[in-house]
Each structure stands twice: as structure tokens, then as C-alpha cells.
Amino acid sequence: MLDHALAHPWEVPLAVFQIFGGGIGVVASLSDQITVSPTVDNLPWFLALAMCLMLAVGGVMTLFGIFDDGDDMMRGWRLERSGLILAATGWTVYTGILLATHPESLLGWAFGLVATVSAGLRTWATFREERRLRNATGADE
């Protein structure tokens, strides 16, 4: 398990953060008393809920994919890719709302943008690795 975490030193902590932040965001979007961020409060409740769910669920799926130890590599990649795409979507919405409401918050939306790009790059990397291994083993898609 440690090997998997050390092989993905950026992805694992980011996924954990997504689960934590997304989870609190889900609760906050369903409650009037709790607020997670003034920016998220600017979103309609259903969009805030969707965004936080995507981040949280995406984080969970990403971790399940990374730490999958089954014999079939496709299972791990499938989980990870779905998680990354969900997370990238969530980060895109977050970046969009920050740009729309607080464009001066450079670090905020830049971080969201970087997280989106990172998820995209990692997704692409899994496709490349899959293609390489299928070519090497002669397995079909």
C-alpha cells in the first residue's frame, strides 16, 4: 500500500483533500447553518451539491483505483479514470465560479486550474500506459 502511495505522491493527498473538502461542501450545501466557502455559497445549491459530490466521489474513486491490487489492471484504471474525470469536472466548476465572482483571487482559481490540468494529465497517462502494455502483450482492446 505504501508503494502505491509513494508512486502517486501528489495524487493521493489531493484525492484525500477532495474527499474532505467535497464532503464538507455536500453537508454545507444541504444546510443553512454551515458554510464552507463564500465562493461556493454563490453557487445555486444544486450546482454546489453537484460540484462537491463530484470532488468527494471523484477522490474516493481515484484512491480505490490507485490502491487496487487485483489481477486485472483495467479495473484499477477504470476506477481511477472515472474518479479523475469527475474530480476534474468539480475543479472546473470551482475554478469557474472563482473566476466569475473573485477574479482577483489568483491563488484560488489558479489552484483549481492546476488541479484540473493535473487530473487530465494523469488520465491521459493511464491511457498511454494501457496502450503500451496492450501493444507489448499483444492484447486487444
Binding site: 460540484m51 489481477d71 483495467m74 484504471w77 479514470r81 472515472s82 474525470i85 466548476v93 469557474g96 492484447a139
Partner: protein
């Protein structure tokens, strides 16, 4: 929420739906793919690693051959330079010999000039200097015209 806020919300909702749709489509495609056993993947990785080692060995071999060719060319040059050195040394030795003869003749000439009364004819020109000094000049000096 104002109009601008509604537009932003609409755009972001569209992006969220688009991302979710892409995720669903990718997952659907992945579900229909053939499994990729880890054992087969390990063999493939090992084969690739072997390929890298073979390529590195080939690169080393090619580099070794190139070094061998450069070394041979360098040795050939050194041999040519050594031969040039031998030629130069021979030239230097010949020049030293000529210089020695020339110096000896100059000394003899000076002695002759000093003892002109006793030795009317100049000392003979050494044959080694015939290439440098015209022998006819010696003959002319040896047989001065009578006044």
C-alpha cells in the same frame, strides 16, 4: 440571483453535465475492454526492460567501434608525424655538417688571409660546400690576374 449570475450558473451547470457525461462515456468504453492481467503486464515490462538493455549494449558496441576507428586514425597520424620527425632530424644533421664544414673553411680562409705572404693560394673549398659556394670563385681567387 441576477442575470449575470444565472448565466454563470448555466455555463457551470453545462460544464458539470459535460464532464459527467465524458466520465460516463469513458467508463462505458473501459467496461467493454479486454482485461489486462498483471502477470502479462509484468512480462511485457520485463521484455521492454530487456529491449532497453540490448539497445544500450548495441549503443556501447557502436561507440566502441567508433572509438577504435578514431584510435586507429590517431595512431596513423602519430606514425606519419614520427616519419616527418625522422626526415626533419636528417635535414638538421645535414645542415649541422654543412655548417661545421663552412665554419672550418671560414677559419682556414682567415688563417690564409693572415699568412698571405707564405700561402699565396687559398685553402681548397671542401666538396661538401660545393652546393653552397661556387667552386669557380675558388679557382678565380687561386689564380689572380697579373697586374
Amino acid at each position: 440571483m441576477n442575470i449575470e449570475g444565472n448565466v454563470v450558473a448555466a455555463v457551470l451547470s453545462f460544464l458539470a453535465a459535460l464532464g459527467a457525461g465524458i466520465g460516463w462515456w469513458v467508463d462505458r468504453r473501459d467496461r467493454h475492454k479486454d482485461p489486462l492481467p498483471k502477470s502479462a503486464a509484468e512480462v511485457a515490462v520485463a521484455k521492454e526492460a530487456l529491449g532497453v538493455v540490448v539497445a544500450a549494449a548495441e549503443w556501447d558496441r557502436t561507440r566502441g567501434e567508433r572509438i577504435q576507428t578514431d584510435l586507429t586514425a590517431a595512431l596513423r597520424r602519430i606514425t606519419a608525424l614520427e616519419e616527418d620527425g625522422v626526415t626533419d632530424r636528417a635535414r638538421i644533421t645535414r645542415l649541422e655538417t654543412l655548417l661545421s664544414h663552412a665554419a672550418s673553411y671560414i677559419e682556414a680562409l682567415l688563417r690564409w688571409a693572415h699568412a698571405l705572404r707564405d700561402a699565396p693560394k687559398p685553402p681548397p673549398l671542401p666538396t661538401e660546400l660545393h652546393d653552397l659556394v661556387d667552386p669557380q670563385l675558388w679557382i678565380t681567387i687561386s689564380n689572380p690576374k697579373e697586374t
